[in-house]
Symmetry: C2
Subunit: 340 residues, 2 copies
């Protein structure tokens, strides 16, 4: 009985580079992710790019818990990197996947997560072409960390950058904010309302492609992950040396997230999102872009939440329903470890 | 005093995405690694490639200890990924760097490692263009894990693959084997002879460029990292569906590594290397390639250790000085966790 149990857990030998590693690669990774570039297990994967301008990004995922309503660390790892490529207007091509596994992780859990990565990659139309697996001792990691890096191709007429926002631009958010962050935090605290919210984790490249097809002149995009909408808007304001003014009552927040935030004393403006983007576009293109976004499954609740100003460069201010303005700072505290 | 101490340690807030994260990025990462592509802190870095054929690879590094004779986890993370690109004949262009840090790591240690990454990247002629930092709680990771992914450009006339070895090819190793593995293992065991060996961790792209300039028709290359020379040769034999026969007394092993292996009961054939490569090339090009390799600082002790056969496809045999052959298997055990 003990042996049968052991066989289903990750052992240190699965990271040795030897026989057990090869077995794990065959039976879990290649079984779900196998493709013409990954399967030969070369030291690096070779691919052709028709575009000369390429995008490259990386993110490690350490979210706790590794399974949560709306997704898991695998879906998160694929979508997060697909989204980081998309925010420069790149078409995501290929991802890498690096696994750091704590000895003792059930192989079934790993397999569920790898299958989830495959499903997310399929949805996004990308392939995972190279990978790596390390196993560390008990208590030298917490279950599973995943790094995904990604390469994308940038079309010639696109130039999207957090430093490109222009005074007069509209600020649009693609949907409700705070869903991912509040879901993870409430899961960890074992709270009753945890089933009422779920993570928004999703690949945004399909939405972005339609946005760029409609408005190739989009100035800036960023996905408000760690630090939330407030931090992202501050980063754009600083990089572009512009002011940003938003209207509190225009920011989409779901009822469930609002209730959860009230109970937990959280501000949805600072909570992570994993399937939302902020886009800044010239005023005259706003209505057209909004229409395109609302026609996409991941942009249904898109809303204009404010505009870019030449006043107060580097600062974000929010006006409440009574017309009172206050400065919205970058996230200062450390209250949200391991949200993604 | 307590506050002053705290200021020098990594806190959970350094991974929050907020103010502390931005400070750490400015003061440690951009200070050492800053460049035109990384410094704007975009969601992904954009770069142009003159070559259409690209190489992409990833590796996570979890070596324990993070500092060791001959290098550290930072140098290892840069060299390992540079080498994985080089093994396909690619010219490494850009790397990503993803840090997973245990709360409480001294910031000075992190800075030393980041500076070491910069030095190794400079030596290899690559730039780190994108990065990510996560911080996890005490005991949720062991000090520091680093993922590096890399993108390289493959010249048109080059076609190097572990599946390309041909019967009759010479098998060349670029220098002594076992240095990295024995150094890490002896460090961990606190053994007396630990100062006698040091890791061979080095970027091999310069050596590979000279090898390919001299012999563009090189068939196969691989760096014998985890699992060592024995495992790498088995992987090549299996991928290329050929046999490999090596001569025991031709395999370069330093005196210090040989002594350490005797004391620890280790076989240098199964120990990791981080600055060595195995190359398979047509017999008639062997002498020329060997000469080129020996003229390079990382190929001084290059040696022909055997040849490829059409007999016994998928198997590696070693002949000892008495002419007796035995099969060399892939690494079977799990005795070497966290060697890289």
């Amino acid at each position: 009985m003990a042996v049968a149990m052991d066989e289903k857990l990750i052992l240190l030998g699965h990271g040795s580079g030897g026989l057990l590693s090869h077995e794990l690669i065959e039976k879990v990774f290649l079984r779900h992710l196998g493709n013409a570039l990954l399967t030969p297990l070369e030291d690096s994967a070779l691919f052709e790019s028709a575009e000369r301008l390429l995008a490259f990004t990386t993110d490690s995922y350490v979210v706790k818990p590794i399974f949560f309503p709306g997704g898991d660390i695998g879906r998160l790892a694929v979508c997060g990197t697909v989204n980081d490529l998309s925010m420069r207007g790149a078409r995501p091509l290929h991802l890498s996947a690096g696994f750091i596994i704590e000895e003792g992780l059930p192989i079934d859990d790993l397999e569920t997560i790898v299958a989830s990565m495959h499903a997310a990659a399929d949805e996004a139309g990308v392939t995972i072409v190279c990978g790596d697996t390390k196993v560390v001792e008990k208590h030298a990691a917490d279950k599973l960390f995943i790094n995904t890096s990604g390469v994308g191709a940038v079309p010639k007429n696109v130039s999207v950058s957090v430093s490109n926002a222009q005074p007069g631009d509209s600020v649009i958010v693609s949907g409700t904010v705070g869903d991912h962050g509040v879901t993870i935090l409430s899961q960890r605290q074992g709270l009753q309302f945890k089933s009422l919210t779920k993570s928004d984790v999703a690949p945004l490249n399909g939405l972005v492609q339609e946005m760029l097809a409609a408005c190739p002149g989009i100035h800036a995009m960023r996905d408000p992950t760690r630090g939330g909408l407030a931090t992202t808007l501050n980063e754009i304001a600083k990089s572009s040396k512009v002011g940003i003014e938003i209207e509190e009552d225009r920011i989409p927040v779901s009822d469930a997230v609002e209730r959860a935030c009230e109970m937990l004393g959280l501000d949805p403006l600072y909570l992570a999102n994993e399937g939302k983007l902020v886009v800044l576009v010239a005023k005259e293109q706003t209505e057209h872009l909004l229409e395109v976004m609302r026609n996409h499954v991941y942009g249904r609740a898109a809303a204009v939440i404010g505009q870019v100003t030449s006043e107060r460069p580097g600062r974000v201010v929010m006006r409440n329903p009574f017309g009172i303005r206050r400065t919205i700072e970058i996230l200062a505290s450390d209250q949200f470890p391991r949200i993604c």
